[in-house]
């Protein structure tokens, strides 16, 4: 087992316990999609594209009262060290579902009856915490497509490594750490839209973990905000 934290509280990739990985986001990278975003979250590289609102196919999925949201999370065969079968796995289907459900409280689809908004997420390189990074990109792609939203969704994981609560779990910490808790959060509304927990925490640790995760989401939000502002309001004195 590798050592996940040294005696000075520095983690295996050189971060402090409350430090995010480096994040860079670019909005509007795909010409053919209505909205898109590319995120580099540490070593994660993820592309998100949004199409719609558009006609629903198959027709029976359409809702007469409101639009619907569909989401596809997919990992490229080359995104991990061992080639991944490109067919959707159990894990990808589950992540597609949780991402959809994490975005659903943010989007307002009442004005688009009988239509669908499709979100496609392609993981080009994975290094732990892809569902959070994917959510960050997807929410920006939705905003870029002009889908009405109550708030952006920011996501970030927290967890327990070497008996300490840490922010933003990477792949090694996910494999060998004690707990992993991805959180998605709407920063302006102060509401959580996704929370999962893999591992065991005491009630006190749980509280601290949620708080750490939310703080991380707020940091991510600032980066998301800047990326969106950069696309639409560059060349201007803010």
């Amino acid at each position: 087992m590798t050592q996940l934290m040294n005696e000075n509280g520095i983690r295996c990739d050189g971060r402090r316990v409350d430090q995010l990985r480096n994040i860079s986001i670019k909005v509007g990278v795909l010409k053919n999609a209505d909205g898109s975003a590319y995120i580099e979250f540490g070593k994660n590289k993820i592309l998100a594209g949004v199409f719609g609102p558009r006609d629903v196919h198959p027709k029976h999925m359409a809702n007469q009262d409101s639009g619907i949201l569909r989401c596809r999370y997919h990992m490229s065969p080359f995104s991990v060290t061992e080639r991944k079968n490109p067919a959707p796995s159990r894990r990808e289907i589950e992540i597609s579902k949780v991402i959809k459900e994490a975005l659903l409280p943010a989007v307002i689809l009442k004005d688009f009856p009988r239509t669908v908004v499709d979100v496609f997420i392609e993981v080009l390189q994975a290094d732990g915490g892809t569902r959070c990074a994917a959510l960050d990109a997807a929410s920006l792609a939705l905003a870029d497509a002009g889908i009405p939203m109550r708030d952006l969704v920011s996501a970030c994981a927290a967890g327990k490594v070497a008996d300490q609560i840490v922010l933003d779990i990477n792949n090694e910490e996910d494999q060998e750490g004690q707990a992993d808790m991805p959180i998605a959060y709407m920063p302006n509304l102060g509401k959580i839209t996704l929370m999962q927990l893999d591992g065991i925490l005491t009630p006190a640790e749980y509280q601290k973990c949620v708080q750490t995760g939310i703080n991380g989401c707020k940091l991510v939000y600032e980066i998301q905000r800047k990326a969106l502002m950069d696309k639409y309001f560059t060349n201007e004195a803010q």
Partner: protein, 234 residues
């Protein structure tokens, strides 16, 4: 009158708090008024709204739009109107009240791929938009060049009381028909004028959020600069 206050906002931004009336692209949460899209917020006469910088075209009754025929049934044509909905034009609208499906052939009037200037007669959430061509300057477009721009930038292309579009038309001597859905037809006798007009429209599309856009377009077209003080338009 209150002065309008403008700001750049993204979804989730709190525009203001207090007793304001929420209008387009905003919603109320408690006493906070929050933006739902990327755009420019305006507070005017106790009403708050956001002018979006992105998004698809949502049909509104009375909008002038340009549609492309994608097919027809025996009673109506269907149009691609650059929206998530399909536009319907009833055959009676073109043939008159004595239209009979056995006698008249829809294809003879409008065929697949034809461009039509139409007005949205009726639209609500429960049905697809109903179009009409019974007005002056509406109907099949015989010639011209189709340009697609983002529908959210159409108001900018028109400008305050039509200032922008007049500038372009005067400088290039081109005829420009603007559909609210972001489809524009430009026609001109003079090929240079046509190219100039297309370039100007593309410029507006690309730089819609910049201040003094009319001035920029004027200098691009080689028109002398006036003191027309142009601001971001609704």
């Amino acid at each position: 009158m209150m002065e309008t206050k403008r700001r750049y906002v993204i979804p989730g931004d709190v525009i203001t708090t207090g007793p304001f009336r929420p209008e387009q692209n905003v919603y109320q949460e408690g006493d906070r008024i929050i933006s739902t899209s990327v755009g420019i917020s305006e507070i005017f006469d106790n009403a708050v709204r956001v002018i979006p910088l992105t998004g698809i075209y949502m049909p509104k009754t009375n909008d002038l739009i340009i549609g492309k025929v994608i097919g027809h049934s025996s009673l109506s044509w269907e149009f691609d109107i650059n929206s998530c909905f399909v536009g319907f034009l009833p055959a009676q609208d073109v043939f008159g009240r004595d239209y009979s499906p056995t006698k008249d052939e829809l294809k003879e009037r409008l065929d697949k791929g034809d461009l039509v200037a139409a007005r949205v007669a009726n639209f609500d959430r429960s049905r697809d938009p109903l179009l009409t061509v019974q007005d002056r300057d509406l109907g099949k477009i015989e010639s011209g060049e189709l340009i697609e721009i983002s529908p959210s930038k159409v108001p900018r292309l028109i400008g305050k009381r039509g200032s922008m579009i007049q500038t372009i038309e005067m400088a290039t001597k081109a005829m420009i028909t603007i559909g609210q859905n972001g489809w524009i037809v430009v026609s001109s006798e003079d090929p240079d004028g046509l190219l100039k007009a297309i370039e100007a429209i593309r410029m507006v599309d690309a730089q819609a959020h910049m201040p003094n856009l009319t001035e920029r377009v004027k200098s691009m077209l080689g028109v002398e600069l006036g003191d027309n003080n142009d601001t971001i338009n609704e």
